[in-house]
C-alpha cells in the first residue's frame, strides 16, 4: 500500500516534470495531501474528463465547465464566462506563474469547483485536475 502510493506520487512527479517547470513543489505537496485524504492515483485522462464535464446550473440554467473560462487548449488565453475578462493561459509551459502558489491553487479550486460543478471537488478530482494542468 505504502509503496503503491510512493509509485503513484513518483509518476505524478514525472508527469509534472514534463514541462520542465521550476516549481513542482506546491503541486506535489497538494497531491500528497489529497492522497492522505483518500484519493488514489491521479491521471491526466481523468483530469481532462473533469475539465470538459458539463454541468447545468439549476439556478440560471447555464451549462458550465472549466473550459468555459480557461478554454480547452490550456495554452490559450481564456475569458471569464460572465465578465469577459481575459484570463492568462493555465498551462505552466506557457505561463510559469501557474501552479506556483499552494494557497492560490487551493483558493481557486474551491471557488471554481463550486461555481462550475455546484459543489466542492473531491480530493481525487482536484488531484486529477492539477495533474492534467501540470502536464500542459
Amino acid at each position: 500500500m505504502a509503496t503503491g502510493r510512493g509509485i503513484v506520487v513518483a509518476v505524478a512527479f514525472a508527469l509534472l516534470g514534463v514541462g520542465g517547470r521550476a516549481c513542482a513543489g506546491p503541486v506535489d505537496d497538494l497531491l500528497q495531501q489529497f492522497q492522505a485524504q483518500g484519493a488514489s492515483h491521479f491521471t491526466v485522462a481523468a483530469g481532462e474528463a473533469l475539465w470538459e464535464r458539463s454541468v447545468t446550473d439549476p439556478k440560471t440554467g447555464e451549462v458550465r465547465r472549466c473550459a468555459l473560462c480557461h478554454t480547452t487548449d490550456l495554452r490559450k488565453v481564456g475569458k471569464h464566462a460572465t465578465t469577459g475578462k481575459a484570463i492568462e493561459p493555465m498551462a505552466p509551459s506557457v505561463n510559469p506563474k501557474r501552479l506556483a502558489d499552494k494557497e492560490k491553487i487551493e483558493k481557486w479550486l474551491e471557488r471554481n469547483c463550486k461555481w462550475t460543478l455546484g459543489r466542492v471537488c473531491t480530493p481525487q478530482e482536484k488531484g486529477d485536475a492539477l495533474t492534467m494542468i501540470g502536464s500542459r
Binding site: H80, T82, T83, G84, K85, I87, E110, R111, K114
Partner: protein, 181 residues
C-alpha cells in the same frame, strides 16, 4: 458635511502640490480631475482584479464598498471570499478612496445622482452611470462592441488603464457617439 470633506481633500491636494512644487511647479494636480484614481493597493489588485478589472474605488460611495465587501461569499453568483484580515485591509482602502471623498468630475456626478443612503452594489446601477449606458444596453442598439455586460469597462473605454473614461479614444462604433472620435 460635503464642505468639510472638500476642505480635507483640498488640504491634501495642497500638500501634494507643495511636495510636487519642488520638482515641477507647472503641473496643476487639482485640475487633472477628469480622471478617476487608478487603484494601486496590491491586496486589492490581487483579490479583486482576477475575474474582472479592479475598479477605481472612486466609482462607488464608501457605503457601497462596505456593502460589497460585507457579502463576498455571495458575490454576483460567485464567491470572492478572502481572509478576514485581507477583507478588512481592502475595505479600508476602498472606503478611504471612495467617491464621496473624491474631487474628480466623475465621482462628483456619481455622488450627485445618488440619494442619501442609496448604496448600489454595482457601479453600473449608479443612476449617473446607468443613464450614460442605457443606449448601449438597449437590445435594439446596433453599434459595437456589444459585451454581455458592462463590467469590463475597458472594452469600450480603452484609456481606462489611466483612469480616463472621458477620452476621445473610445472603441464604441455608432453614429450617436461619433463626436467622441
Amino acid at each position: 458635511m460635503r464642505t468639510r470633506i472638500h476642505g480635507i481633500a483640498g488640504l491634501t491636494l495642497a500638500a501634494g502640490a507643495v511636495c510636487l512644487g519642488g520638482a515641477t511647479l507647472s503641473v496643476p494636480t487639482y485640475a487633472a480631475s477628469a480622471r478617476v484614481l487608478v487603484p494601486t493597493d496590491s491586496a486589492y489588485l490581487k483579490e479583486c482584479g482576477a475575474c474582472h478589472m479592479a475598479f477605481s474605488p472612486e466609482l462607488l460611495p464608501a457605503s457601497s464598498w462596505r456593502a460589497v465587501m460585507g457579502r463576498l461569499d455571495d458575490h454576483f453568483g460567485e464567491s470572492a471570499k478572502v481572509d478576514a484580515s485581507v477583507q478588512r485591509g481592502i475595505t479600508d482602502y476602498l472606503v478611504a478612496n471612495a467617491a464621496d471623498r473624491a474631487t474628480n468630475e466623475q465621482s462628483r456626478a456619481i455622488m450627485g445622482s445618488l440619494s442619501t443612503n442609496e448604496s448600489p452594489l454595482r457601479i453600473t446601477q449608479v443612476p449617473y452611470i446607468a443613464g450614460l449606458h442605457a443606449a448601449v444596453l438597449d437590445p435594439i442598439w446596433n453599434g459595437t462592441p456589444r459585451p454581455k455586460t458592462l463590467t469590463e469597462c475597458g472594452v469600450c473605454h480603452i484609456k481606462v488603464q489611466s483612469g480616463d473614461y472621458k477620452s476621445k479614444d473610445f472603441s464604441v462604433n455608432d453614429e450617436a457617439f461619433r463626436w467622441k472620435k
